[in-house]
């Protein structure tokens, strides 16, 4: 195939393909990725990615995709299984409605990260924009996770119905950890924040609690995984000082109607 360099990492016996994505339209790029997966490649390295949308969209395979460059919107949308690593920033819609898999962004990410995601993990090393984790939901053993190394914008976890969001606030500037309307309409799941925040930042459907022993164990495990995948040093982060946001009700809008 054009622009594909084949290699294999013999020590792990992983079939690796390298693809030069420069100047290729997303449709063609995604077709190439699919055809490489069908030919049995287990790892695909995309070089020179510059804004191509929908990488990994709808893929259900057990494949690893390494992206060098900035992928476009809806990275890993509707994805169900793959592991994606971005060695740069990512744009909007990372992990939109994803069902399982892992997305690691070694940089910043834009708005609407993990909208409606049902399972899998998203690790963003730096900051995220608005509406992160909106309407995340869990189902049986499926519990989605988003860990943000930096700060999050407004509407974090809005309408959240399940899953786990962690915000570490390790960015260098001194802005607030989260934006306004955090957890508005939240009716399931949990948001962990590395520091206490002002209640004026919260939606009226959530309350602040201290992290307990179970939370700390869970956070330690997630922090180790996050640090391992993003390369960010989390040694100074102490889960014992974390707070968590929980919904006041699983049915926040149950009393709005008369029959």
């Amino acid at each position: 195939m054009d622009g594909v360099r084949q290699a294999s990492r013999s020590e792990e016996e992983v079939k690796v393909a390298e693809l030069d994505a420069r100047g290729i339209h997303y449709k063609e790029l995604n077709e190439k990725i699919r055809s490489l997966i069908e030919s049995g490649y287990e790892e695909i390295v995309l070089n020179g990615v510059n804004g191509q949308r929908y990488i990994g969209d709808g893929l259900v395979h057990n494949v690893r995709i390494v992206i060098n460059g900035v992928p476009g919107n809806d990275l890993g949308a509707f994805m169900d299984g793959p592991r994606i690593v971005v060695n740069d920033n990512a744009q909007d819609g990372v992990g939109n409605t994803m069902n399982s898999g892992v997305i690691v962004v070694r940089g910043h990410a834009g708005d609407v990260i993990g909208y409606g995601m049902r399972s899998g993990k998203i690790f963003i090393r730096d900051d995220v924009g608005y509406r992160t984790g909106i309407h995340m939901k869990s189902y049986r053993e499926q519990v989605p996770v988003i860990v943000v190394g930096g700060r999050a914008g407004d509407f974090l976890g809005e309408y959240m119905a399940g899953g786990i969001i962690v915000v570490l606030g390790l960015s260098s500037d001194s802005k607030d950890l989260v934006g306004h309307y955090t957890g508005t309409g939240m009716h399931g799941g949990v948001i962990y924040l590395a520091e206490e925040i002002d209640e004026s930042k919260l939606g009226s459907e959530v309350r602040i609690f201290q992290a307990d022993k179970t939370d700390i164990e869970r956070l330690n495990a997630l922090l180790a995984e996050f640090s391992d995948l993003t390369g960010l040093d989390v040694s100074k982060v102490d889960p014992r000082s974390f707070v968590k946001l929980l919904p006041v009700s699983h049915r926040p809008y149950g009393n709005m109607y008369v029959y």
């Binding site: 997303y26 449709k27 995604n30 949308r53 929908y54 969209d57 709808g58 893929l59 259900v60 919107n73 809806d74 949308a77 509707f78 994805m79 169900d80 909007d92 819609g93 939109n96 409605t97 069902n99 609407v112 909208y115 409606g116 049902r118 509406r131 909106i134 309407h135 939901k137 869990s138 189902y139 049986r140 499926q142 809005e158 309408y159 119905a161 399940g162 309409g185 009716h187 399931g188 699983h250 049915r251 926040p252 809008y253 149950g254 009393n255 709005m256 109607y257 008369v258 029959y259």
Partner: protein
Amino acid sequence: MPDRFLPSEFIVNVDHQRCRRCKRCILNCGFGVFDFQNMTTADSSKCVACHRCVVFCPEEAITITRNPLAFREHASWDVGLRKAIWKQAQSPGMILTGMGNDKPWLNIFDHLLIDACQVTNPSIDPLREPMELRTYLGRKPARLEIEYDSQGKPVLRGAVENNIMINVPIIFSGMSYGSISLNAQRAIAIAAERLGTLMNTGEGGLHEELYPYANHIIVQCASGRFGVHSKYLNAGVAVEIKIGQGAKPGIGGHLPGEKIGREVSGTRMIPQGTDALSPAPHHDIYSIEDLRQLIYALKEATGYKPVSVKIATVHNVAAIASGIARAGADMIYLDGFRGGTGASPAIVRDHVGIPIEIAIAVVDEQLRSEGIRNMVSIIAAGGIRSSADVVKAIALGADAVAIGTAALVAMGCRLCQKCYTGNCSWGIATQRPELTSRLDPDWGAERLVNLVNSWSLEVKEVLGALGINAIESLRGNRDRLRSLGLDPATNEVLGVRPAGM
């Protein structure tokens, strides 16, 4: 204050001379009207006039009448308005309702008359001539370019987008598993397959048992993304992005936790007993560009299956439809303000949106004037009650229509408008197993097939009278309609001349 502050809507009368005390009425009523203490008793305050008891009483011993209680007439203070105030004064909240708009707004379909041939341009006899109802849904090329190969055979240049073939220009509208029972969905799926048409999952996911019918199913992706995953998106023949619904334009949906039992929970992929909240907007769509992004995300995820975008018909529907066509949609599903629902605040159901007749006409006109009508198929829904409505909707500019309420009525629905209670005695809008089990999917499917086949015969008969032998030739053919009793401004908007002109 007594509980009976609100007078009963209906009075249930059991003729004890006829009653043989078989208790079928007690078993059949989903609303708990009947009881038995030495003889059958009825609590009229619970009756919704769904007729289940009447139909199943072997002795015809039950009659239901409107409560004759007199109210002092007042032209401004309709009795319904007074009752609404009593309800809300008793417990605070929005008044919830089901089905479609029941207010006596002008019904434009009932003011449109269809043309017929006389003497010149002779009519066609559908008994003798083939009448084509087959319809293709999806994007059509702006022009066809044909090349000739070395043998001189014509070859089509360029790719033509995926289209879906349906045998009749009538599909079933999106009604989710949750809002209706699985047996009701099964009946619709079986009917869609037999008729060679489509059903739509609504926003409730696709139950495993319906996957065998996937070639006749449009899967929906709505703001709550319930049950949306790769296998689901790839199962159907098309994906529909639900932006809005005719019965509740601009608002989200709340399926109450009581209705999220084990099966519904599994199909929606959410925990049992929690409310299923569909946000008002899709939070990844705040602009036409964002809509385009989701359309193409879905196309990428499904190998470029056609994508439909469903909107409620609101004031600026024509401009919105133009944006949707340009955003890359293959179909636009217009849901008029008479469209049905499992639950909607009455204020929204009854007062928000515009009629489907007007929406079809202005959208068709707008897309034609921009030269992009070929880019999308228009599916009209929300108030299609008969084959006459089908003909008129298509003549106004739709490619096909979708029916929801009409399909439920075929399966026994009496339009009691209590879908949101989950007590449907007909086993349709309920998840209570003792109620859903009474709806036999094969019985329901047969009735749906009969209905659509009957309408098809009628549509063919009218096409013949019009001297047209394909439904395609009727699309947007407003010259074959005349209005009666509509004002000049409405005539102009519809692009229809008054009768006599």
